[in-house]
Symmetry: D2
Subunit: 485 residues, 4 copies
């Protein structure tokens, strides 16, 4: 792999597929801005004061049109930004091109190899002299992981002279991470520690990354403050639910053109993502069956008329399989062998290990026929029947379609902007320790409020006497912290 950074005429670094797509990206950015009222309101409210003046922000988050509007909101507030994607298939090349040309350093393209992916991540974190970023926007936690692993390796190296051994792991991706860190040690033995020292904090976008953060918090391994954006109501109950309700059928249709009506669809997991997927499939006329480990979520599905069975019960009868669990080993190659011809298998959960891609790829005699990019038919030698796997088991809505639509991402990303502002503004106050925080309720409600006007909504106002009666301030917050919505 010999990747080289390119530079714009103004000297900003980038590596994208094709800079000439920048005009097309800009046109779509213009459309997206109209659909992202929360971000535009942030520009209007905070832009004049330039609160991010002097701040370096590194982002590792799907490099899409919507993310481009986020990036240009951060720059509109004064930040310098470097960016990479958090998924090898999720970059929209025209979005990357527009940002690279106009606004920030971007290292991302659709269809990276794993080596390229981590090269991009490293580039994104590398601000040259003076260490790394002041702030990180993370999705899934890979940027955070790299720094933590880097620091660990440096400390080990300082202590014992040992360098990380890529062969110590079977995980092909972690092998790459260790290689990068090992190679980094050769040029600067304090590289990641310098990053850590400069870092004010990270705001994390998604369930998987948040889970990692809480685990690090628990073991005391967390090196800097983190804001859990995922658990803002206006993120997890919107982007996960309504976003997937939109983008799951979008991905299915673009990838396969299959008629959803009449089909039997299995959704593995009935969390917010699963709820959105099941709703979309049901509404499109599929008969939906859900698999669940959690009896409460299972009972919720049943109350919507959705059957709860195990994957084994239905594996040979269903037409569409969607994993949404955030866990691993949900659909194994042994399941796939038993499926109907041309059953569709896809993942919208987070990592590709929800589907046993490794088992599939190494199945003796299996044949892969690529219908089109991100749509592969895998034919089993015994039966000559095939299954259709989307996006190589990675996020199908980003790999096969364009991810969540702008409006719902505006909710998520307005939380990101607010979280980044909060970390930056409080960087010297000591308000945030090396722990994981959620945004306070009133900011969550503010994010929602910024999105109502676009939809023509008119809120009711509490009277003073009503406010007294229920002991809730007229201007909110309106719910206790534990309220479930």
């Amino acid at each position: 792999m010999a990747l080289s950074v390119e530079k714009t005429s103004s000297g900003r670094e980038y590596k994208v597929k094709d800079l000439s797509q920048a005009d097309f990206g800009r046109l779509e950015l213009d459309l997206a801005e109209v659909e992202m009222p929360g971000l535009m309101a942030c520009r209007a409210e905070f832009g004049p004061a330039q609160p991010f003046k002097g701040a370096r922000i590194s982002g590792s988050l799907h490099m899409t049109i919507q993310t481009a509007v986020l990036i240009e909101t951060l720059t509109a507030l004064g930040a310098e930004v470097r960016w990479c994607s958090c998924n090898i298939f999720s970059t929209q090349d025209h979005a990357a091109a527009a940002i690279a040309r106009d606004s920030a350093a971007v290292f991302a393209w659709k269809g990276e190899t794993l080596e390229e992916y981590w090269w991009c991540t490293e580039r994104c974190l590398d601000w040259g002299e003076g260490g790394g970023p002041d702030l990180i926007v993370d999705d899934g936690g890979d940027a955070t992981l790299l720094i933590h692993e880097g620091v660990k390796a440096e400390e080990e190296f300082e202590k014992s002279g040992t360098v990380p051994d890529p062969n110590s792991t079977d995980n092909p991706e972690f092998k790459i991470v260790l290689t990068i860190i090992r190679d980094g040690l050769k040029t600067d033995v304090r590289r990641y520690r310098k990053m850590k020292e400069r870092l004010v904090g990270v705001s994390e976008e998604t369930t998987t990354g948040v889970k990692r953060l809480y685990q690090m918090q628990e073991t005391g391994a967390l090196l800097f403050p983190a804001i859990n954006v995922n658990d803002s109501v206006t993120k997890s109950k919107f982007d996960n639910l309504y976003g997937c309700r939109h983008s799951l059928p979008d991905g299915l249709m673009r990838a396969t053109d299959v008629m959803i009506a009449g089909k039997v669809a299995v959704v593995c997991g009935y969390g917010d993502v699963g709820k959105g997927c099941a709703a979309a499939l049901k509404q499109a006329g599929a008969r939906v069956i859900v698999t669940e480990i959690d009896p409460i979520c299972a009972l919720q599905a049943l109350m919507e008329g959705i059957q709860i069975l195990t994957l084994e019960d239905v594996v040979s009868e269903a037409d569409i399989f969607v994993t949404t669990t955030g866990n691993k080993d949900i659909i194994m190659v042994d399941h796939m062998r038993k499926m109907k011809n041309n059953a569709i298998v896809c993942n919208i959960g987070h990592f590709d290990n929800e589907i046993d891609m490794n088992g599939l790829e190494t199945y003796p005699g299996v044949k892969r026929v690529t219908i089109k990019p991100q749509t592969d038919r895998w034919v089993f030698p015994e039966t000559k029947t095939g299954i259709i796997v989307l996006a190589e088991g990675r996020l199908m809505n980003l790999g096969c379609a364009t991810g969540h639509p702008s409006f719902v991402m505006s909710c998520s990303f307005t939380n990101q902007v607010i979280a980044q502002l909060e970390l930056w503004n409080e960087r010297k106050s000591g308000k945030y320790e090396k722990k994981v925080y959620v945004l306070p309720k009133h900011l969550d409600e503010k994010v929602a409020a910024l999105h109502l006007g676009k939809l023509g909504a008119k809120l009711t106002k509490l009277t003073k006497s009503q406010s007294d009666y229920i002991s809730i301030p007229v201007e909110g917050p309106y719910k206790p912290a534990a309220y479930r919505y």
Copy 2:
């Protein structure tokens, strides 16, 4: 008012409408037991050990068929029980009769006056010599309120010799409470304090009562431990949501036979109750408009295609109005005057003050025409048009129909049984202080699990390796405490 307690042949006290309805009640109880697998599982699991042996339980909770199954679960576990309803219209007389005859002391009938209501509450708490109950099952907090007000009055009386003055309040209901307490002081100046001393704790069923408890906890006024059953997921996200989705249209249809399809329906509030109501109306073919103060809930409604407007915007165009807020003064008489002829106005929120019944009743020249019990047409003198008010502004699903169906109440009431067991088992351990507690997640999940078999569901089991991967025990709990479902 000269009410007198009656006695069964076995000497148990009661006051119900008609004991001869006991056979009918028993038949419906038999049906309900099949629909309440959680309660029946409690009988099977805990019954043999008779854990409530020696416990006196007083309950103030709608005296319906479902509650009857709860009561007989408590007695099956060894408890002695006294019961009253927490709403003047919600008693099902055949249920009350069956319980009075067979299982517990009941003081409840459909259509109590407010005086009768509080007489029943007092009877329910009065266990004769030795003070009051060991445990309270409360709904809306009236039993808890009476004890707290009683204790306050006794302490004031001891200190200053002052007795409560019913004329010190404008609230007609509180006037009655004060009268009862005042009269009680004449016979026993330690009556409520004795109750308090014996009391192990209360488990509270509903949002309104829980709110009162937290307020008392905050001011330090809470006299005994309380378990907040309402905020068990298997309660608030089931009974409130799916229960109302069932019972709102049921009440509308029984009261008015009105066709819901094609109508414009306004739902005030989009919490769990509002969500259930809006879903039911939408599915039945109404065009639903929601009013909200909370931008997050408003945005949720919008994502379901529901318009958010203020009541003023739509008051003269809508056909059906439902209050679900838990607040007061939602629909005022000035709104009602502007409504279409035969617009339907009802409340499923908690208290009747969501609708300005007082304003309506005292409106000059207004005429009330009772179509049938709980269905009144109020005609305004200026326009000669009328509106139809259900259940006199009280809970329309209990006043006009039969409340929530058995299956969903089995979820709620299994939480009650578990909460009562927890309080009783830990009565000497000091585990519970004078605070408000929620049940731990694993018990919440257990409640759900007890209801899956009846619906033919089959859960998936985590493998050891999956359990390790996501750091969640194979047997649960499966979600963090703040998870929103």
Copy 3:
């Protein structure tokens, strides 16, 4: 059986349950009028001209509140009316009372025996001297049947002197019909022929009756013109579909209070009635399975995500069974024996023979426990488990609830009024032969138009140039005759 006709102070005949319910009936009539804009528009448009002056109308159609508004529309247009119900359980006694007291001769009460039912039908057709009615409003065709069978018997008697032999049939209901005709022959051998001669025509309400009419038309047996109201779009695609969508869950809830969410519900038949039922159950959260003989209807169900199986496949797993076929022998006693404990079995199709009530009643050792009127639990001796049968297998929405709501019945009944007017106005023109007719499209569209204002709808108008372009008159009709909507 010794039934006797009663008379109002004005001398009009009647036989109802309780005339004192007339006031209550009138209150509900007042409400219903507001919900029946089509009928009220007919009163306004045609009333002044008194087009039915001199016409005698006999109706055999569920004697409900909605039918009462129809009757008073007919009388408002100048007709004299006699009425009976077409179902032994469907009469609403307060509606019958109000009409009997105020407007027409009524012979109907809830819970007639079969003998009483046919006595009422005969009374309804008997106008004393001068033969029978000029016009019949029929539902299911029983009034039409009686006249046809009567005429046949009279002709046979004239020819051969033979009188009908009730023992010639096994069908208990037809036995009664033959008895009535036989007894009638004793007093007047030309009774039914006189009726036939006077009769201008019949308008038939429902699928079953229409099917009978077409069969008679085919064999040449039809004795007078008939208008098929059922196949007006504004009847069959509204009342059957939206009416049942409303009244099926209403009946289920009133009869059993069962929670529909989470249950498995089997709908036998996916015609308009079945579509309405399936939609209602699905929306309430049941998992719906449909049985069908017709592959087109089956494919429609599949497109909505509904599984198509045979009754045998699901009989032991489902919780709710609904027949909607218009055929017989759908659910047999052998099916019922295999059902889960407390499975609910009901019919909304037309006749009670969709369910094998005879097989159930005569099953050796079976025990019937009446929970409440129209709700019976039948316990099988082998298993001691029981099933719950609604309305004794007859129309459950009319037996257990109040039938279709006013608004949708206004569509159906406006068609009836227009059909009756058409028959009456053309009685001398020869326009209608002894055949079955449907109303012309423009009248069907008119019925719909009369119902839009109440729902706040605003139609678009064709421009002249658009009208030319699609060759459709500006004022309609807008669709070809075969259009399916």
Copy 4:
């Protein structure tokens, strides 16, 4: 325009975008076959007998993957086939390539000019010596139109020597038709009459074409028999309804990525297409408003909770506008000027004149910005706000997505195969006159039956006694001709 026909190595003519896409097309054809059980069943049932041996079939119907499976079904039954698309944007180039290479003469590509479009149509009908095709598969009636206009011109020319004058019409498309015919007259004055003489008949796919046929039938202008495939239930109630329910959101999402949830969407027309569109938008979370001229369809929408307003009422508030009427001048430039910024305007009805594209294109100062092919933003000079028009006002589901999915097209196209077989088999029997016919009910039911197995459905069978009772043969047809489904 200088288009030239190309030839495959086997000598078959074609003109497509890029023959090298044939492999990709073949892969998608393989997938589609699995989703088109009706067509595959036709191959299995009829293929061996080669019924189309000797038949020349010309088709003018969107050249998509699904149509490719139709074409190869016709060739599998022995036909020779020539094909063109019936819409300038609807061709899928990889489908055209695969068919051109492997199976039939194809003249079609995505993005034809109108001149190119009619050149393709002419090529499709031109079988060289011996006149034209034996059979036509038509969609919208353009092939049929060309022959009828050609014959008319030739007869006029023979009579009066007059050639058609393209300048006699303002309609730019008809100008091209006249030019082609005029030029044709120069080479062969009997060209179209020879076609007519050979022609056995046409089967027409869609509402618009069917309407034209009935108009010609009425005036006696129809030159050959026609089978109206559109009005097979398994076509119009499936493809129009369920097809659009699938492909409308697909087109919206691919073209604009806009979030549908929360938006206000206006659907003009509530026929089958409008019903499918409204359902899709509602289910995706939009608030849907329908405009209608027909009161019956309007009342149907109201029963689903959909508001009926005029376009004028909502033009400035809605976000998405969809025309589905089959009429012209639905959304005029004056409407478009009043829309919100970035309102989306699209047509799924049939012709592009539902939207006033001409008014838009000629609006003074308007600016067109092409975001990507088929997605244009038109900016008005006064407001600088723009609207987004999809597929230049033509069928957006074909222009912006891939049209209806395979499964539903299998229903439609199985009707086409059966219709073509019927015409061909009866070509000498005189069964079909120069009229428009629909397929008999039993064939319609057969089409449905062929699609049930794929969805796992199991039909119920009538017993003999049930069949007798309802006078319907055990094997069907199950419904009278006028049944509306």
